[in-house]
Each structure stands twice: as C-alpha cells, then as structure tokens.
Symmetry: C2
Subunit: 393 residues, 2 copies
C-alpha cells in the first residue's frame, strides 16, 4: 500500500535516531529533552491515583473537549477571558497537530523562527505548509524581518516558543512580546504560542505571555510534561471559542477524547496544596544543573565555540566555528556523548549555522561535567581537523 | 482564521448532538454506543492503579509505538506472526485516523459497507477520500458488488466491521470472510478490519478474523472500550511491520505516544486471572438486555417495522416503512426516547433506507421496555401521519 504524498515529504526524526543510540550505557546523553524521572510528583499524585478506583465515571467515554471538572478548574487557573475556552489534548503536541489540521491547507504559509522546534516542523510538514523562517535574535524574532514577512506574505499563523526556546533557550524580551502581538493584530496573523518551558524559570518574575497582548489573535499550548509528567500525555490548549471549536471537531475523529483518568489525575495534582512548592523544587534542581553545565562549557570549550546564558528551560545552545555538525555529532557519540546538531532545527538544513543543542535536565552534575570533557575533547579534534583541511585547501 | 478545506467538508457529528439532547433525565437513550459503567472492571484494575505510584518509568516520555511490556504481551495474546507488530494508540479511533493519514491522498478510493461506522466516515472524510459504498447483506458485504468494485475501481483499502457491525449488528459468515480475504489478496486491496465488538458474542464460538485469511493484506484495529474501559483511550493496531511503520511516523507528530500509565493499567488488566471471567459476565449481562429489547420490539413495533436478531455487539437495527427518519428521531426525542436515524450511517444520506439504530448495553431491562413502548407509540403516530400524507397526495 503506497503511503500518502504528505508523509513522503516528512524526513524521519533524527532526534529519535540519536535517542536510540544514546540509550547505550557508555553514552552520556545531552541529546534528549527529557525531564528527570526523579522530579515526577508521584507522591502528590498518589492520593488521586488511589481515588480513581472510586470514580467509575472517569472510565466511561468522555467529552471531546476534555473532563469538565478539569476544564472548569483551568478557566480560573489560566484566568481565561469570557470569550475563551480550554481543551484537553493528548499532550500539547496533539494540540499543535490539531491546529495544523484544522487550519492549514497545503501551501498555506506558516511563520516560524529559525531554528525552531522539530516536532512543530514535523506537524506543519505533514499538512504540507509552506514554512517561512524568521531569524532569531537574543531577544526574540527579528522584528523587521517579521513585519516584512507578515506584510508581504500574508501568512496564516506564526508559531513561536517565547519562553526558553527549544533549541536555543532564548526568552523574548517584554518589548518583543508587545511588538509581536501588535504585528499579529495589525496583519491578522494568528499567534500559536507554545509554552512548555514557561514554568522552568530560574530567576525573576515571569514575563506576560505574548498572547496576553493579543488574546483574540492567539492560541496557547500549555504542557505539564516538564513540571508534572510527560507520560500522562495531557496538554491544554486555550484560545477564543471560535479558534478552538474546529480543533474539537478534528479531535473527535482523531481520538474521540484524551484519557479521562489521566485528566482527573492532572486535576488532582494541580489542586494539591504542595504543587507550587514542587515546581520551585524542580526549578532549583534544574538551575543547579544548568549552572554546572554552563560553567563547564565556559571552562572547557575550545576557542571559537560560544555559549550564551539562559534564564530557564532545558537547553543550552553552543555555536561553533563552521563545520559538518552531523559528522561532529556522530563522532561525539562514539566519544560517549550524545548531542543534537543544529540543522535538524531548520526547515532548510543548509541555512543552519553550526551549533549544538545540549540538554541539562536529565543528567547529574557529575555526568554533565564528564559530558563536557568528552564534548570538548571531541570538538578539539574536529576543529583541528577542519583547520588542517582549510590549511591544505 | 479560515479553517482548512478538508474540515469544511466534514458534517458535524449528528450523534454528538443527539447524545447531548439525550442527557435529559426524562429521556431514555438508546442512541449512544456506550458500555454500561457498572461493567468496568475497576476491581481488577485496582491493584495496578495502586502499583503505578511505584513505577516512575511510566510517568516518563515513552516509545511512540507503545509501552514495551504491553506490546510484548500482545504479541502472544494476539498470536501475531513474525512479520507483524502491535502498536498502542489513543483509542482504536486514533488507529483509524493514523491509517487514513498515512495512506489516503485526497481522492483515493476507500471502500466501506453501507451503512457504516460514523467515526470511520468522519476520518476518511477528513483526508478527503473518495468513499465507495457496497450494500450489506445479512451475511456481510454483497460479494459480487465488492468484486466488481475492486476490479473496476482499484481502491486502496476496504474498511469493515465484520463482527456485530455498527450500526446493523450483522456478523459476517465464514464463507464471506474467506471470500473477502481472497478478493483483497487478488486485487491487492488492504483490509482495515475494525473489531471493537468482537468479544461481545452471545453464543457459539468466535469466527476467525477476516484478516486471519489474508494476514499480509490486513490491518486490525482492536478496542478494549467495550470489554474494559473506553475512558482509558488505549486501542491496539496490529499488522505487518511495513504497514504499521508509517502509522508510527504519523503518531510521532500526532501525540508522541499514548498515555503510558494507561497502557500499564491495560496490561495489568489483561494479565489478571479473572479477566476472561469478567468478559463472560459482560456477555451475559448484554445478552439479557438484548433479549429484552428484541422481545419488546417484536411485541410492540407497528406493522411494517422489521427487526433482525443479532448474535452479539451493542446494537439492533430496525427497518421502517419509508419515512423521514430525522423528523422521526426528533419527534421520538420529545416522546422521551433517543435513537439514531439511518442516514447518518451513509456517506450519501439520500441512499439510506429508513431505519433506526438502537443500543441495548447502557439501559436497564425496565428502561428498555419503557423505551420500546415510547418508540412504538411514536412510530405509530408517525406512520399514521405518513399514510395520511400518502392518501392525501
């Protein structure tokens, strides 16, 4: 049976391949985007896990939009305006897939920063979107390039990760947030704000969501995978009713609804009086790991490599002198450290600046230090070889 | 934001609308397809529900194809050939959606029986399949029509519910199963065998799956919603590796993977020594209700209405003298009984013979008897009115 044309254009997920190779016990993986299993608030979930057996209603078919008590709780939790609704999805990844399926025709223009989240590129690739890339600056997307793009290309939507971007870790400034919201409103471009790392902020107060400045032009994807548990597969999408109703319609065919016991479990967790304290503990843990990784990189990386500090999230982005980062990642793997090379985060691989994404949430400080030592040694060899090639050429 | 063209062609789910109206306490609903909440094997799931809090690994991201211990168990449970694999989906509904997305281009031909499962028509509608309908006989699809269709139209796949069909309750004969498998092989048409009601057999031995006769040309969708719990949203798809790998690729973008705690819970249930006994108890309960509904219909239905016996499943199909079944369903609702009119089960509503689908699994015997009394009274009025109109015309 021949596969559909849409699927023929989707490259296989390089990350999955690296993750598979990285499961080798001799490899320290900074390649994935996994939270540390030890952070899962199982103690806080336990009371609800045990109560589920007294709630037969959660084992029945449920509403497509989600478990009513959860949706009702989220209305306050996210302080949704009267015009808005929340829906539960099978992970926020499904929310993104539903948005793409509900709104994007083949060839429709979708704007993303470059680099960008791989899973979003997959989803928009499946609906055969025309992905337009905007360069990223240290404070967010290049605003001039964004306005030119909105003005000249009339795209349908702008997909963005303003808080601790995957892969670069960049957090948009307040000014950028306001300006992007203004542009989305002015040019009638829907903002798809993906916020999976928002709560993983190491210091200072959270900035407003971009969508707070353009609530009628935005859909927000909320994840609990990084602060609760990814295994549950419950993410939340919020936005005005008119934007979300087509998503509910697609979800009916896609999986009828998401697991109701898992939605009830999430509700129990969010209502637990210790949940905020739990998030603080995760922040502290990840900040410690980040500090170790950042300091080790600063200390050990060869000249020509650059690393920028981040204020939260799960990743550090290391820019390198120009080189074949796929070959580098492969050679580093044989050196015992798994990383992700930059081109996989670009719709057009050839436009990628040489860089690596490093994750710091799922390795101990000792592992992080060892990983950087292996990384630095491997990089040194690679860079020497590149220089040699340049000299010879 | 304008919705995608594919969504513009999908009618809203009439069943959902009826189900909403049917939640009125004064209405007895025979409209849904819900198992009785009291059948959920919560006692058998309880040990695993409590054990989950000692299994941190199930709260982590999981494999897209499914929870390895479950997939490994299913290999034996379904006696899969070496060439085959199982994958876990967010309900078997997602399996169907993944099949449609992985294989169907707009305009590709998909064969279904008429009438057919509404959720399948929605899914194939979303990918803009060209749905070809084959009439159904009491022993399965009309084989001559099916062969002519396969020969002349070269469809990509044939979607079918051979065991206790939704909506008609028909169970394909052994001969039909063998012949359909032969035709799928001969004309290289993939069989999509949807088996959600297979275990709900009231008597005799189960017939082989159709796909048992053409394992290299079939994908099978397995559900636990009717024998365990629909709320979990865990369904299983089996088929040869080559058929399923594209589904896994789509699922990566669709939701990464299905809930791991729910997969572990299902595994615990399937391994419970009392699970087979639990299925027997459900069968007995539903057979009792079926007997009551069937006998009441035979006794009370006006002349001109026909009801055929079934050997399992959840539905009875009542054929009526020609009438406007939408108007009838609406008037029956105001009479206190919810049913589903036949046209919603046809890709082309205008080709539907007048009929109603009645569910017997989620009402007590008393409710079933009362529902039939209301149905019979409402039908009598409607038929008298129709006759009157005919006389006047």
């Amino acid at each position: 049976m021949e596969i559909a044309h849409s699927l023929q254009q989707t490259p296989s997920s390089y990350i999955r391949e690296i993750l598979a190779a990285a499961s080798d016990k001799n490899v320290i993986s900074l390649a994935g985007g996994l939270p540390d299993e030890k952070t899962f608030p199982i103690d806080l979930m336990k009371p609800m896990l045990e109560k589920l057996s007294e709630m037969p209603e959660v084992f029945q078919y449920g509403e497509t939009a989600g478990y009513a008590p959860l949706l009702s709780f989220l209305r306050d939790y996210f302080q949704l305006p009267e015009t808005h609704m929340a829906m539960a999805c099978t992970g926020s990844q499904q929310g993104l897939d539903l948005i793409a399926r509900a709104y994007v025709n083949p060839g429709d223009k979708v704007v993303m920063e470059a680099p960008s989240y791989l899973g979003a590129m997959q989803v928009f690739g499946l609906v055969q979107a025309n992905i337009l890339s905007i360069p990223q600056t240290p404070t967010g997307p290049d605003l001039n390039a964004l306005e030119t793009c909105f003005e000249q290309e009339s795209p349908k939507m702008f997909y963005a990760v303003p808080d601790f971007h995957n892969p670069t870790g960049i957090c948009w400034s307040l000014e950028t947030r306001q300006k992007v919201a203004e542009l989305c409103t002015k040019y009638n471009v829907a903002l798809i704000e993906d916020a999976p790392y928002r709560e993983l902020r190491f210091s200072d107060e959270a900035l407003p969501l971009v969508s707070d400045f353009c609530p009628q032009h935005a859909i927000v994807l909320r994840s609990f995978s990084k602060i609760a548990s990814p295994g549950l597969r419950i993410g939340i999408v919020t936005g005005k009713r008119q934007y979300l109703e087509p998503l509910v319609k697609i979800k009916q065919g896609a999986d009828l609804h998401s697991s109701v016991p898992m939605q009830a479990l999430l509700l129990g967790l969010l209502q637990h009086p210790d949940f905020d304290q739990h998030i603080d503990a995760i922040r502290t843990l990840y900040k410690t790991r980040y500090d170790v990784l950042f300091a080790s990189l600063k200390e050990m990386l060869p000249d020509g490599c650059e690393v920028k500090n981040v204020d939260g999230g799960m990743f550090i982005w290391v820019t390198l002198p120009e080189c074949d980062t796929f070959a580098l990642a492969k050679s580093l793997l044989s050196n015992g450290v798994a990383v992700v090379p930059s081109p996989v985060f670009y719709a057009d691989h050839s436009k990628a600046a040489s860089a690596l994404r490093l994750n710091f949430t799922n390795a101990t400080p000792e592992e992080l230090i060892n990983a950087v030592a292996r990384l630095a040694a491997g990089l040194q060899v690679q860079l020497n070889a590149s220089n040699q090639t340049l000299v010879e050429a």
